[in-house]
Symmetry: C2
Amino acid sequence: MSTAFRRVAVLGLGLIGGSLLQALRQLGSEIVGYDVDSAAAAAASASGYPVAPTDAAAVHGADLVVLAMPLPEVAAAVQSLAPHLSASAVLTDVGTLKQPVLSAVREAAPAATFVGGHPLAGVEETGWNAADPLLFRDAPWALTLEDDTSLDAWLRMAELVCDLGGRPVPTTAADQDAAVGRVIGLPHVLAEALALTGLAGGPLGLSLAAGSYMSGSRVARTPPELVTTWCDGNPALVDALDDAIAHLTGARTALAAGESVFPLARRGHAARTNWERRRFEPVELVPSVEALRALGRAGGWVTAVLRDDDGHRLLGMRPV
Amino acid sequence: MSTAFRRVAVLGLGLIGGSLLQALRQLGSEIVGYDVDSAAAAAASASGYPVAPTDAAAVHGADLVVLAMPLPEVAAAVQSLAPHLSASAVLTDVGTLKQPVLSAVREAAPAATFVGGHPLAGVEETGWNAADPLLFRDAPWALTLEDDTSLDAWLRMAELVCDLGGRPVPTTAADQDAAVGRVIGLPHVLAEALALTGLAGGPLGLSLAAGSYMSGSRVARTPPELVTTWCDGNPALVDALDDAIAHLTGARTALAAGESVFPLARRGHAARTNWERRRFEPVELVPSVEALRALGRAGGWVTAVLRDDDGHRLLGMRPV
């Protein structure tokens, strides 16, 4: 049972929101869902989950409110629910980009205690029917820590994420969006380009496309409207694309000159295998904004939030 | 039991050669393996597979000889085995690019009855220990049909591929290499560029990299020496890279101007989902070079080679 929050409202019952609602129930939390889309609400309700008729009813009495709707709907959702938020409630979200959500909350609910969140746990399926209460096991989960973020609220969120089996990664909205441009935005744009270019050679190629095409273009199965919300407005993705285009242009020039793609292949192989081979060591720290941000910048995460008479202690993991 | 060939020699016992040796034994074929690398030969032998001490001994009496060594070793291997090849033997290979192999065989064994082959069945693991006798189930398997290819030898190879559970795709070496540039070369080069660029932003990105990075860079796990043999010297890959770079540059320009990646995402999504949704209809044809090539160009493949008193009939599938 999670002791971080007593009653959690999840607004938006798609893949992430639905998975979270299901995972929270498995923790023994009191939960309530809500979705502006009555079909999504009905699907959750038919599966036996409590669904509130309005956002106000969902938020009423909740000490954690989770924004799990698509990014374009976040600003209006925050505006609508803000008057109903308890003074002691924590507000969080699960979106891919953290800066736009932070701006929307600062604008529409400046008094809210907000901790931005991003579970790195999507699959290319969407909707309540794809929801999975085990989706967050071992998933990195960015939790933003700005200068004005409540450290207490951050720690409660970290505790909840640990209870869900995820890995709370302390970061700022700006740093997380920069990283996400490279590890989410870029893979999606490359997958779209591959999906399109790979099959542009005619039907013979369609029948010869196999493993490498299939995995390389897997995330092009994601609805393009969602991909757009993960990519647009992120300047880090422009830089990442510039770097990727430079590598591809280098390989293209080498090939056209009768030379080899080996230099790129060697470096790509090393990057991927070194990533897989990372090893971690346990760390313990007294929580502070600076210590937490340093842990996240180093590639580490929190594994447990311990409360004792002197306050909090954190356990975590950090790359060796 | 496959009736296409009586005794098969597989030269090169890595992932593809090893899988083929194991799959052929499960068909009841008489088999013998060979590898210039004594460690690979010993591994196959220790698993209970017959391994010849020399290529001459392996090839002796075989009515099918399979070249399954890496591309850079093919020319020397053909030169070495050519004097030992039976006059009635069929020679085939399993490499990714078909034109370099065709040239090597024409040079070193001009009298050989050669049918180029390419099972689209790799995984990023390599070597005998990764071999899997079920690797070829439902795998497309390009079989080249040049103007001077023996139609009878081609049909026997198609029969064997069907017996192995694969899908013989009739094509020319030039057409298959053009298609492979887009559906194998391109995904590999993109995966290398993603593996490298995605992780270039520092340790925070390493810990946030998840599903889309993982599938997009999966084939960067392949040894770079192998990737090189699938890419280098294929002019079609230059064209494919030009197209992909143009799509990426378009997305980059849109993002930098505050616009959306949606146009690319929409087209990439449509390409991928239309590919998955292809439907096929059965066809029957009297085999001829032209009819077979037309079937392959249309995205079709052979499902059965039937022999009756009047000669051969072929059953196949073709996109609707």
